[in-house]
Symmetry: C2
Subunit: 341 residues, 2 copies
Amino acid sequence: MDNRQVVLAARPTGLIDESTTAVVVAPRLECDKGEALIKVAMLSIDPTIRGWMDDAPGYLPPIEIGAPIRGAGVGVVVESKSDRYDVGDMVYGFTNWQEWVIASEENRFSVIPRGLGLDLATVMNVLGVTGITAYIGLTEIGRLRDGDVVVVSGAAGATGSAAGQIARARGAAKVVGIAGGPQKCQEVVELYGFDDCLDYRAPALARRLREACPDGVDVFFDNVGGEILDVVLTALAMHARIVLCGAISEYNLTERAKGLANTRMMIARRARMEGFIVLDYANRYAEVQGELAAMVMSGRLQHREHVVEGLEHAPDALNQLFRGVNHGKTLVVVDGQITLD
Amino acid sequence: MDNRQVVLAARPTGLIDESTTAVVVAPRLECDKGEALIKVAMLSIDPTIRGWMDDAPGYLPPIEIGAPIRGAGVGVVVESKSDRYDVGDMVYGFTNWQEWVIASEENRFSVIPRGLGLDLATVMNVLGVTGITAYIGLTEIGRLRDGDVVVVSGAAGATGSAAGQIARARGAAKVVGIAGGPQKCQEVVELYGFDDCLDYRAPALARRLREACPDGVDVFFDNVGGEILDVVLTALAMHARIVLCGAISEYNLTERAKGLANTRMMIARRARMEGFIVLDYANRYAEVQGELAAMVMSGRLQHREHVVEGLEHAPDALNQLFRGVNHGKTLVVVDGQITLD
């Protein structure tokens, strides 16, 4: 019942490496009144975790040196002194990178309904922050309308692939992805059903984007930032909406980003760019999860998971997000015995 | 009755010079049925005119080579074959850079009410696109709320000085300007009543901005773009709104702009950046002009005009906008005999 953790050993510059994190064994956790003890089953590996490692202002405080890496995950309640949780409940929240976690007033978990017929990996991907982020970003921030031309960067990724499919299901006239390499582009079209996918590593992205979207881009769902965002700024339709969901191209920069040179185009196009954090929409999670579950069960929301075994491999799994080698949602199994059935 | 014009002779690179424009004498204009002949009194010299000279996509088509430079102005109706205009009406619209212009179905003018007790220069500044742009930008795009901390770049300029004063009059808790040089900063505080003004030419703008706005910037009204915008992105309050009104730092660039490196901050701050063009709000001009006229007459909207005599000096007057030497709204007198009385 010791608690194995992956902690932040030092603040990284660029990608994390062996000196950045350490596996430690912390004492077993005790469950006080109003709390519950959770055995962690699986971790959600998200690009935003890298940002929390920097000593820089963000939407959450930086992870402290020596503390377990912050991150979402699921687990099962094994002991409860709280009215919120029953023993055996499967719960979702900030488990952080460790084997055990305490649910408390400060760290609340949501109970995952059983009987959906979906496995844990699917639930963590599509019904977790990934799917909810795609849904809220498109509808609330992007204000998707029938007939919109939607472009999604990081289209082969977990959030991007969901965003494109949600756009299609909710009335977009055309959905175009941007991804790295021919294999990912093929997957975006064939598996996720986008109309087209542009390889940003091939030449002349700006020209190809204008050809794919001759009437301009109404909604750009951006997971990447940097140069790809700058290119899309040159292809906006009037009153375009740019959803700043992530900036994966910038999370590991060791020098100043090259920067956006085309924001001036936003004036001519009366365009709007807006950032958001899905945590602000917690009161809509249940409603959105219902919509997403219906989409999955009817086959309108295809998804892939990249499952890594073992807590100690979580740092590598995070790095892989930035190397662009993974397909779909990256998850780390901490305890494979725990399932949703 | 010949029509002297300043035409676009060649597309400029960087600032315009003698080779870019030419003074020509065009044949006199004839007024057809449904039209009116207008003698031009004064031109409004606006940074956006420089953008129209480029062969690049914009919110209006590029000015054609050989055509008079496009621009707003006022004049008096001297002949009318239209129900819209009476002889003697003072009218505002796209006069372009010439002595005479025809009001037609395609080029409509608005009639300026007489009897306001304001001179022509004041009307062209505060009740023209300058004042209306400041008002619409702050209220519609910036969604100014009581208690907001408002920062304005180009604060000594015509639009910026109006924006800061309108913010103050409509409930901003604090209004901070950004301008170039101590003289302009002094003017922004003493004449226009801003709480503070930061000289962007002095070192450590980012630090001084954070000191001036310790709780962050709620609304940034940006006339400048480029590096100043990038600095303000580091000092946003939660749910900040950035009004992209202009990007005067970028209109004459001969190479790629350095670009924004800090858009990622917009995610953490849930911030919104939006461009707009005041021409889209023509149905609100009359209402806004009424509010602005009331502010001027009650002394809550101070203004300065920089008046240049002679149509042939309009190109120099435009260049001065980008050299940062002028104070207040730049106007060019084409016919000094015409007044509002």
